[in-house]
Amino acid sequence: MQLEEQLRSKMQEKDILLMTHIVLGYPSLEVNREVIRQMVENGVDCIEMQIPFSEPMADGPVILKANQEALATGISVKDCLIFGAEMAATFDIPFLYMTYYNIIYKYGEESFFKNAAKTGIKGVIVPDLPPEIGQSFLEYADNNHVAPVLIFTPTSTDERMRELARHGRGFIYCVARRGVTGKKSELNEDFHQYLSRCQAATSLPLAVGFGIQDRDDIEALKGRADIAVIGSRTIKLVEAEGAAAVGPFIAGLR
């Protein structure tokens, strides 16, 4: 089943879905494995696994540091792909890769998507590849039935959103505000207007990320978005309290 279909069938059962974010190799694949298990057991619907990159331009301090420390342990792209395959085979929820374009470019676009398809990865999020210069990337994604997830932002015009929606598959990732990952977002009236514009521009499910941190944030998104994305928050939680704290945290979100 493809990503959008899979999400839509889950959307029948829940009033909002939860997507979480893992930086592969931070602090170790072993901890990642435990964190993912806790997430899945406590109802997470979809997980994006970030393949670390030395220059994570769109990420804030928490994920930036996680990228650097993961790389310092010597983790390779190959290690990440083997781990991704293991997760997709073990758990019955969709897994995505999130990474910067250079990782895929160096691996080879075609090989990367073939690997993803073969190992059951459902989608790929790349924050630094606009569709107009990512033609071959988008073609390989479509040919391999792996969803290229594109991003809307508050600075996107209606016209731009429609253009992005034309190329996006699976769902649209709506960045809640300007800036990088990991800072609190104000989910105010401007934000609601922005989400209405997002809805008008696409028929794909909408995920909202950047600064979504607690139960109140998620409550506020119900009825306005289909998926809430928790990113830096769980990474900080694992840093402070260890992997065991993730399950209860996730269980308390909805």
């Binding site: 030395s54 932002t153 600075t155």
Partner: protein, 413 residues
């Protein structure tokens, strides 16, 4: 540049979506400026009255005699206000910022020259200014930090990654995606997402437009070769651009050889096999990276050349064999700097000294009828701490120790 910002296979604009609209506006404003002769005229007037343009082309007679080959001419970008070619780009972008009505500028800086120039421009045009600088570079270039702060800029030391130029660029982008509405990012070199490479090269082309006239005036014909150091590539693009139209002029870019091409501690992107094609910091070029695409550590005695990538325009010219690339090691650079000071009483910056080292290696084999131009992209005297340290100068060390003692005694009182 094509419509997507590519030069041949290189360049583009690999930007986060949040910056899409800003880049659209920037590209449009830049296109309007290119078409408007009054804009270039305003730029020239500003550079003549605020900086020191046209900068001289100095006939280095003693160096010429020393090597016994071609006539050596030095293009004196060191005499620009703030002491380097960086001012050309910054003042140009300052005029652009005024037209766009933005109130705040940010910039990355490696050696500190670009940060200095940006802080100067911000002071003159009444803009808020934040400069991102790798923590390691803050330590290497303390005097520049002092002046930036004195001119009212906020200097943010960047503690991530290798704590050098590339990390400062990442951090500046993080600021920009956060404050995109009122802020312009004054990119310092002919790298980054389109339109920066072409725009920066355009402002810097003032160097070769002048040098072309000057060399015909003094030497009566075009030079055989033009030499420039290559970090990001803005001074090289500046001094090459006009001469790219002249087939008989050979253009030579000199990269930072650090401890040597085989040492792994260098910043040689184009004149060795260590780099490969990649995409980072918003553009596609040859990067020093591993097989996974992770950027490597670089090294150079010159902070301004210590960078993993290189201008996509230069990579295109390299691929088309229109520019030849060489490298010079830290040791060769110190020797070239020493000789230039002793023979001509001119103090090139460590960055610029790479161009001198590259030229000195070859100039003796050219006829005395020929001429070469070396671009002195910046002045070295303001980098006294770095240069004295690189020379391991005993009397300077003694002075610093004494001054240190004086300060620590004062603190105790």
């Amino acid at each position: 540049m094509d419509t997507n910002g590519f030069f041949g296979n290189w360049g583009g604009a690999y930007i986060p979506e949040v910056l899409y609209q800003t880049f659209l506006e920037l590209r449009e404003e830049y296109a309007r400026c290119r078409k408007d002769p009054a804009f270039w005229q305003e730029y020239i007037e500003l550079m003549e009255t605020y900086s020191c343009r046209p900068t001289p082309l100095t006939h280095a007679k003693n160096l010429t005699k020393h090597f016994g080959g071609a006539q050596i001419y030095i293009k004196r970008e060191d005499l620009n206000h703030t002491g380097a070619h960086k001012a050309n780009n910054v003042m140009g972008q300052g005029l652009l910022v005024k037209r766009m009505g933005k109130k705040r500028v940010i910039a990355e800086t490696g050696a500190g020259q670009h940060g200095m120039a940006t802080a100067t421009m911000a002071a003159k045009f009444g803009l808020d200014c934040t400069i991102y600088m790798g923590e390691e570079d803050v330590l290497r270039q303390r005097p520049n930090v002092f002046w930036m702060e004195k001119m009212g800029a906020t200097v943010v030391p960047v503690q991530d990654g290798s704590r050098t130029l590339k990390d400062a660029i990442n951090e500046a982008f993080r600021d920009w995606v956060t404050n995109v509405d009122d802020t312009h990012y004054v990119f310092g070199t002919a790298c980054g997402p389109a339109p920066f490479p072409e725009m920066v090269a355009w402002f810097q082309s003032i160097i070769s437009i002048e040098a072309h006239k000057q060399i015909l005036n003094y030497h009566g014909k075009l030079p055989a070769r033009v030499y420039a150091c290559v970090g990001g590539g803005s001074n090289a693009m500046g001094v090459f651009k006009r001469f790219l139209e002249e087939d008989e002029v050979e253009l030579v870019g000199v990269e930072a050889g650090g401890y040597g091409a085989d040492s792994g501690a260098h910043a040689i992107r184009l004149s060795s096999d260590d780099a490969s094609a990649g995409v980072a910091q918003g553009y596609k070029t040859m990067f020093l990276q591993d097989d996974d695409g992770q950027m490597k550590q670089t090294h150079s005695v010159a902070a301004g050349l210590d960078y993993v990538g290189v201008s996509p325009i230069l990579t295109d010219l390299w691929e088309k064999k229109l520019v030849r690339f060489e490298s010079a090691t830290d040791d060769e650079v110190m020797t070239a700097l020493d000789l230039t000071m002793k023979k001509e009483g001119i103090i090139p910056a460590l960055e610029s000294s790479h161009a001198f080292a590259g030229a000195f290696r070859e100039v003796g084999s050219l006829s005395t009828e020929e001429a070469i131009i070396i671009n002195q992209s910046g002045r070295g005297d303001k980098d006294i701490f770095t240069i004295a340290h690189a020379f391991d100068d005993p009397s300077w060390k003694e002075f610093i120790i004494e001054r240190g003692k004086e300060y620590s005694n004062t603190d105790k009182q």
